[in-house]
C-alpha cells in the first residue's frame, strides 16, 4: 500500500508540472497562440506600469480561481458550473481590485474598468473549463500561474515597446535623453493609439511562428 502511494505521488515540480508552467509562456501562449484576452492587451499597454500590474492581477486571479475550482470540481453540478466559476472569479477579482485601490490608486485609476473585466477574460474561463474542471489542484494552480505569466509576458513586451517609443519613458521615467529631442527626435504618436498594440502583437505572432514552424496553421 505504501509502495503504491509512493508511485502515485508525483514530485511537486516534475517534468510534467514544469511543462504546465512553461508551455503557456511560449508554445501555448494564451495571447499569441490561442488568441485570447486581446481586448485588455490593447487597452492597458500604453505604459509599462499598468501592464505589469494587470499582468500580476491576471496571474493571481487565474492561479487561485484554477485552484479553487479544481478543489470544488467534484461537487459542482455540471449544469451550473459556469455560474459557480463566475462567482469564484468575481470574488477574486473584487479582492484584487480592492487591494489595487488601497495600495496603487493611480494605477488602479488607469486600469479603470479593465480590472473588473478580468471576470470576463477569455483566458480565465478557458483555463477553468479546459483544465481546472478535470485536473488536480496543484497542476491546476501551476497551469493558472503559467497562463498568467504567458499573458503577462506579452503585455509587458507590448507595454515596453509602446511606452518607450510612444512617450520616451519606461515605467514612468524618462529614458530617451534630452539631446535626442533637441536633435529632432519626436515621440511616435501612433504608439499611443490602440491599433499599434494590435500591430505589435501581430509582429510578435509573426516572429514566434517563423521561429516555431509547427505553430503555423495548415490550410
Amino acid at each position: 500500500m505504501s509502495n503504491n502511494m509512493k508511485k502515485e505521488r508525483e514530485a511537486l515540480f516534475s517534468a510534467k508540472n514544469i511543462k504546465l508552467l512553461k508551455n503557456p509562456v511560449n508554445l501555448d501562449n494564451p495571447i499569441t497562440v490561442q488568441v485570447l484576452g486581446i481586448c485588455s492587451a490593447l487597452a492597458v499597454t500604453v505604459q509599462l506600469k499598468p501592464a505589469i500590474v494587470m499582468a500580476l492581477s491576471v496571474t493571481i486571479v487565474t492561479a487561485f480561481s484554477n485552484l479553487i475550482i479544481s478543489l470544488l470540481r467534484d461537487t459542482i453540478p455540471s449544469r451550473i458550473r459556469i455560474i459557480v466559476q463566475l462567482v469564484v472569479v468575481a470574488t477574486l477579482v473584487i479582492i484584487v481590485d480592492q487591494v489595487l485601490k488601497a495600495y496603487v490608486y493611480d494605477v488602479s485609476k488607469k486600469l479603470s474598468v479593465f480590472v473588473g473585466l478580468i471576470i470576463t477574460n477569455c483566458i480565465l474561463m478557458g483555463r477553468l473549463e479546459a483544465f481546472a474542471m478535470g485536473n488536480k489542484p496543484w497542476p491546476s494552480f501551476l497551469d493558472g500561474i503559467g497562463n498568467g505569466l504567458g499573458y503577462g509576458a506579452i503585455l509587458i513586451a507590448v507595454g515596453f515597446i509602446r511606452e518607450l517609443f510612444g512617450s520616451g519613458k519606461l515605467y514612468g521615467y524618462d529614458v530617451i535623453p534630452k539631446a535626442a529631442f533637441e536633435a529632432g527626435y519626436v515621440n511616435n504618436g501612433m504608439m499611443i493609439l490602440p491599433p499599434m498594440a494590435l500591430i505589435i502583437i501581430g509582429v510578435i505572432i509573426w516572429l514566434q511562428r517563423s521561429k516555431n514552424r509547427e505553430l503555423i496553421d495548415k490550410s
Binding site: 519626436v186 511616435n188 504618436g189 501612433m190
Partner: protein, 388 residues
C-alpha cells in the same frame, strides 16, 4: 551596353546554384533584370507571355510620375522664394527644389530597398520590383519639410508590415506608399499637417513676407477660410503649397494620359473615382447645410491630393479591385469617401489617403461579390436549360 552585358554574363555563374556567391543570387538577378529585359522563355506547354514584364510596367508608371515630380521640385523652390520675398529664375527655383527633394527620394529608396533585399535574401526569392514605384511615390506625397529619419522609419514600417508580412509584392492589401504616409500622419501629426510644413523654411521660423501663408487650399477650407482658397488657375497649374507631387493638376493629367495610353492605369477606376467625388459634391451642394458643402465639384477636384490619388494611388493594380464591375464600385466609393471625410470631418483636412486605404481593405470583398453574382447569374441560365 555590350560591355555591360558581357560583364554580367561573365559573372553570372558565380551567382548561380553552386557558385561562389550563391547566397546573393537574388541581388544579382535584381540588377540583371533591371538593366536588361530577361530572356527567360517557357519550354513546356503553350503559354501566352506578354513581352512587357513587371519591371517594365513599373518603369512606365515612373515615367508618368516624372512631370509631376519635376514640377513639384520647381514649386518647392518657387514657394520658398516667394515666402522670403526673393525673385528667382526658373532654373534657380528648380535647383533649390531639387536639392531639397533629392534627399527624400534617396532616403525612401535606400530604406525601402534595403528591407526588400534583406527579405529577398532571407527567403531566397527574387527581389520584388514593386518598390521602384513606391520609392518615388513616397517623397511625392509628403511635405518637403518632413525630417529624413521619419521618412526612413515610416518606409521601413510600411514595407515590413504592409508588404512583407503579407508575402511581398503582389500580396499586399495596402498601397505601401499610402501606408507610409498614413504612418507619418498618425505618428508625427505635427510634422505632417498645419500651415508650417508645406513650404521649406517655414517650420524653422524663417521670416516671411507679409501676407504670405503656407496653408494649403484644403487647410484653409478645413478652418472655414473659403475666401483664402487660391484662384482655380493657380490650383490647376500648381503654384500652391502642398505635398511635393500633388500640386500641379496639369502634370498629373499628363501622367494620367501616359498611364491610359499605355493601358497600365485603369480608366475605369480613374473615371469612377472622379464621378463618385462629383456625385457626392453635387449632393452636398443641394443640401448646403454649411459653407463647406457649397464648394463646387471642380474646386474639390483641384484641391489637395485628390487627382494625384485617383491617378496614381487608386489605380495600383495590386490593391485595387480586379474585376471590371468591381473597379467601378471601388472607384466610386473612393471618390465618395474622400469628399465625405474632407467635408464632414474637420480633424482630417484631406480624405483621399484614408479613403483609398479603406477601399483597399474592401477591394477583395467587392471582387468576391462581383464574381459570386456572375456565377449565380450563369447558374440560373443553365437551370433554365435543364428544366426544359
Amino acid at each position: 551596353m555590350k560591355t555591360l552585358r558581357q560583364f554580367l554574363d561573365k559573372n553570372k555563374p558565380k551567382f548561380e546554384k553552386g557558385g561562389k556567391f550563391e547566397k546573393f543570387g537574388s541581388t544579382f538577378d535584381a540588377f540583371e533584370t533591371f538593366l536588361f529585359v530577361p530572356n527567360k522563355v517557357t519550354f513546356k506547354g503553350s503559354h501566352i507571355r506578354d513581352s512587357i514584364d513587371m519591371k517594365r510596367t513599373m518603369s512606365v508608371v515612373i515615367i508618368a510620375l516624372i512631370p509631376a515630380l519635376l514640377f513639384g521640385m520647381w514649386n518647392v523652390g518657387y514657394q520658398y522664394h516667394m515666402s522670403v520675398g526673393e525673385q528667382s529664375t526658373l532654373f534657380g527655383n528648380f535647383w533649390f527644389g531639387l536639392l531639397k527633394t533629392l534627399p527624400l527620394i534617396v532616403v525612401s529608396y535606400v530604406s525601402g530597398l534595403a528591407v526588400e533585399f534583406i527579405f529577398a535574401q532571407y527567403r531566397g526569392h527574387e527581389v520584388n520590383e514593386g518598390f521602384l514605384v513606391s520609392g518615388i511615390l513616397i517623397p511625392m506625397i509628403v511635405p518637403v519639410t518632413t525630417p529624413l529619419w521619419m521618412v526612413a522609419v515610416a518606409t521601413i514600417f510600411a514595407v515590413v508590415i504592409g508588404k512583407e508580412a503579407f508575402g511581398g509584392t503582389g500580396m499586399n492589401i495596402f498601397n505601401p506608399a499610402l501606408l507610409t504616409r498614413a504612418f507619418l500622419f498618425f505618428a508625427y501629426p505635427a510634422q505632417m499637417s498645419g500651415d508650417k510644413v508645406w513650404v521649406y523654411g517655414l517650420n524653422e521660423g524663417n521670416k516671411v513676407v507679409d501676407g504670405f501663408s503656407g496653408a494649403t487650399p484644403l487647410g484653409n477650407a478645413g478652418i472655414e477660410m473659403f475666401d483664402k482658397i487660391p484662384p482655380m488657375m493657380d490650383m490647376f497649374i500648381g503654384t500652391i503649397p502642398g505635398s511635393i507631387g500633388e500640386t500641379s493638376k496639369i502634370a498629373i493629367l499628363i501622367g494620367a494620359a501616359i498611364l491610359l495610353f499605355t493601358g497600365i492605369g485603369s480608366w475605369r477606376i480613374m473615371l469612377a473615382t472622379v464621378l463618385g467625388a462629383v456625385g457626392i459634391t453635387l449632393l452636398f451642394n443641394a443640401v448646403a447645410a454649411n459653407e463647406y458643402m457649397k464648394i463646387d465639384p471642380l474646386t474639390h477636384l483641384m484641391m489637395g491630393g485628390f487627382l494625384f490619388g485617383a491617378v496614381f494611388m487608386a489605380t495600383d493594380p495590386v490593391t485595387a479591385a480586379q474585376t471590371n464591375r468591381g473597379k467601378w464600385i471601388y472607384g466610386i466609393l473612393i471618390g465618395i469617401m474622400a469628399i465625405l471625410i474632407r467635408v464632414l470631418n474637420p480633424a482630417y483636412p484631406e480624405g483621399m489617403m484614408l479613403a483609398i486605404l479603406l477601399m483597399n481593405t474592401f477591394a477583395p470583398l467587392i471582387d468576391h461579390y462581383v464574381i459570386q453574382a456572375n456565377i449565380s447569374k450563369r447558374l440560373k441560365r443553365t437551370k433554365l436549360v435543364v428544366n426544359k
